[in-house]
Each structure stands twice: as C-alpha cells, then as structure tokens.
Symmetry: C2
Subunit: 311 residues, 2 copies
Amino acid sequence: MTNDIDILVSEVGPRDGLQSIETVLPTAIKHRWIGAQASAGCREIEVGSFVPPKLLPQMSDTADVVRHALEIPELTVAVLVPNLRGAENAIAAGAHKISIPFSVSETHSLRNVRKNHEQMLAEVAKIAELVANVEPERRPHFEAGLSTAFGCTLEGAISEDLVVRSAERLIDCGVAEVGLSDTTGYANPSQVKRLVRKVKAAVGDDRLTGVHLHNTRGLGLANALAAIEEGITTVDSSLGGIGGCPFAPGASGNIVTEDLVFMLEAMGLRTGIDLDRLLSVRDILRQALPDEPLYGFTPDAGLPKDFNVAA
Amino acid sequence: MTNDIDILVSEVGPRDGLQSIETVLPTAIKHRWIGAQASAGCREIEVGSFVPPKLLPQMSDTADVVRHALEIPELTVAVLVPNLRGAENAIAAGAHKISIPFSVSETHSLRNVRKNHEQMLAEVAKIAELVANVEPERRPHFEAGLSTAFGCTLEGAISEDLVVRSAERLIDCGVAEVGLSDTTGYANPSQVKRLVRKVKAAVGDDRLTGVHLHNTRGLGLANALAAIEEGITTVDSSLGGIGGCPFAPGASGNIVTEDLVFMLEAMGLRTGIDLDRLLSVRDILRQALPDEPLYGFTPDAGLPKDFNVAA
C-alpha cells in the first residue's frame, strides 16, 4: 500500500459479487466497470477467479479480464484461485495478487472443495513453491483467506485456537499473508478484535493486514471498524453489495463499497477514492444488470451537506 | 439501569417510528406492541410524545398509552415533549422519563419549533422547575436530547464547541442528563467518540449516558459501537426500523432494534432481551401496518447456528 492512503478498500464485486449472479456479464462490461472504479481511485480490485468454466461460466473470461486490468496504471489486480491449476492460470495471466480460501471449518472445506485440512495445506505448499519460482518482477503476492473464521453454518462456533493454528500452518506452507474471512456473516466486533489480535500475535503484524467481512446480519461496517481499530489496513467490499442479497441462498452479502468508503472518509481515513465518482460507477451495473438489486444506504441518502468541504 | 444488564436498549419505535407513519395505529395495538416488547425483556420504551393532537394525530392517545404502560412491571415509560405544556401532560400521565429535543443547529430549532436557543433554554428551565416540584416518588427523570449534534441538513457541519456549550447550559437549566442525537444520519464513529468524550468531560460521565443514532448512511451500528466503546450505556433503536425508510422525506432511519440487540448479545454485552421473542414482536407490526416496510438484516438471516448455546 502506498503512503498516500490509510485504508485500502479492496473491491471484490467483479469476483465475489458476480459469482452468485447467473446473468453472465459481458467481458467488455467488466472492463468498463473495473476501469471506471479504478478511475474513481480504487487501488485494488479482485477481478475474477480461475475456476473451471463449466462450474462458473461467469468467471470463464478471467484471463482476459486480468490482462485488460493490468493495463490500468497503479491498480493491483487480484484474483481468487481454488487450487494449483488455478494458480498456474493466474500466474500465466500475470495477476499481481492471488488468494486461496482455506476453510477453518473442515466440514465446510470438505463440502466446498472436497479437501480436508492436510490436503489443502499440501495444495497451498505446492502453489507457494510455484510462486517462489516465478521471476521476482512477475511474482504475485500470495495470500490465504481463512474462511469461516468467525463461525460456520455447518459446524457452528469455530475454535479460535484452530484459526490461529491454521494461520501459522499456512504461513509455514509459504503464503506471504493470511486474511480473516467472515464467510457466514457470524462475526461480531468483539470477536473481530480478539481474533485479529490473536492471529497477529501468532504470525506477525505484517502477515495479517486484511479482512473480508459480510453484512449478513447488518454488522459489516461495525466489524470493519473493529478490525481497523486493531490495525487492519485492507478491507474487502463490493460495489452496490452486488450479488449480495444476504437472504438468497449462496449470496455473499458483502459490505457495500459506497457505505464503507463514506464511513472511512468521514472518519478522516484516506481511501484515495472519490466518493462522487464511485457513486456514478453504479450506473454501469444498473444498466448491465437491471434485474439485480443494488444495495447501500449512502447512494440513496446522498452525502451530507458540505461533506467534501468539511473533509 | 439495573446491574443485570450492560447496555440499555431503549425502544423508540412507538414514538419516533410511528410519528412518521400516517396510518394511526389503534391504541389497543400500541398496548400489545409495548406489552410484547417488554415481555421480550426491553426495559425502557419511549411510548409516545405529548404534542398537539392536531399536529400529530398518531400521538393523540399518548396519555392512554402511558397509563397502560405504567402497569407493566420493571418498564421505564419514556415520552418526548416539545415544550412546557407537553411536560405538564407527561407528568400528569405519570411518565417515568421525559425528554425534550434541543437542536444545536439554531436554524433547525427555529424551523422545527420556532424557538431560538435562548427561548429553548428558558422553556427547559421552566420544565426543570416543574419537575423539581413533583413529589419525589412521582418525579420523572428529565433529559434533553442534543439533536443535530453531528451535523444539520440546513447548516451543514455543527461546531463541537457549540454542542459542548449547549450541553453545559442545559445542565445549568436543570436537566438531569443530556443525550447526543444524530438526527440527520451524518455521524461517523470517530466523531461519535470525540463528541462523547468532550461532552462527558464537560458535564460529567453520569450526565451523558445515552445516544440516539440513525442509520441513514448505514453507519448506525458502527456509531453505536463507537459510543459504547466510550462508555455510553443507553442506545435508542426502533423495532423493524419502523417508520425508518431513510430515503423518504421525514423518515427517521433509526437503528433497527433486532440488529442492535444481536450485535450486543453476540459481543457478550447483556441487554436483558430475548432475541427470539423480540423477533416475534415484529408480527404485531406486520399485521397492523401491512403496507409499512420492516427493516433489519438479522430477522431475515436468522440467528447463527448454536448462537444461544455459544452465548
């Protein structure tokens, strides 16, 4: 992260948002969206995932989307990969950052990717080796997201010790960083603070800088605030909470980027993002996905009188 | 507040929620709602306001509603009053707690109640004298809410010094306590913390224990968290965010009680409220006001697996 911003708002809409939407967004529209949001000041965008196209047709153009996004100056182009094969594709495409989800709930891991913890760690180690062998100037940042870290719809409560041990083992396997993900929308602010502290204590401050939180029970921004108070500097969110109806099966319920940026900027924390321009990016989604609801309070309420003047 | 709870969730739906709804809720339904919510464990409910019935027909039965609510054991019956006349009616009805809004934005004060600050302070002083003359066992707790404390749609930014001075002058006029109100939904967590600290420093910790926050820009729970971290122990909210579409003119956009209680209980802060029973109180509103939207994420998402077990 450069020194001219305090918090990196990492846009995950083109990946986490779109993946739960059936209408396949044309590649050209993805390009427009990513370009417009980068122009509004977003420094990092997760543009897609390298999963088998048969499983997720929405993501079948990820290599193209990455290549286009790489042409945007000062944008960190992130992708999600579920396995070694995905990592190979991500590296071939030239992504700056690759993330792999690791379910702390082993039941969830087996259900989602048919791998237990040992198998996942072996996969992560192979990817880390692959990444290490990439020439330095093209080498991506490799991160593992600790999903279901705050609770699991299948297992219920998740042991905090297991989260910490998983973080340590992932670092041992060679990831540069771990992240904490509230996959299920179970997190509360006290738990966020406690878990950020514990994981940082175990793996080091520079090995946990980001959180991926959901707004399933309305606590998304409160949890983000708690994380930031514990020194977290990267927060994931999704424009318009796209794909994020928290009540529909499979939907993500991501934090809404517009509300998150409003909160941070109002607090005097610099995101580098121009709120007015960010709000206008919604038009692209509204036109391209007319049947998808767009969420967020700030877009409807508007900015406070003299907001930009006061800030 | 009794010692068996950590945070007092003060339900303001029957007053702040209903006042922006045109359909007049029958008195019997108000009784049912208040009774059901008290049975779910709510310890304080603002049941109505003593305003001229012609101005607000929805509140014309407040004296009846107060008298009924007084029969509920362990419930603090609160009302809002705009002036001395309202306070006389509130005392006659036997309310436990009376609140008067004082707009820190003088423009807002003139627009809303046609009184400048000096006139408002004179009114508050008269009410304080009236209250002081009530026999001790029937004497209500008298509070002034500093509305527009975090910004005003008419004036824009509000001077924090003016908020502090207003708090001091209201205490000098004889109110037992002041509260901070984000009437416009402009507040952010840093501002909440700063202003709570400043006002507490000026008037004393026991003279500022409550906040009234809105969710207009989605920051309601984050702001509540910030307030609680600064020692605030009473947070206002409205069941189902009733009357609270933040985009309709005149609507309040109150914090949703269900989401607030979920956040607090998940954090291990005791509210005294049974969440399952609270959620069922929504049925009363859904039946009585079928055309009014009910808000909240937790009611739709449901409680996390093993939530009550874990807590």
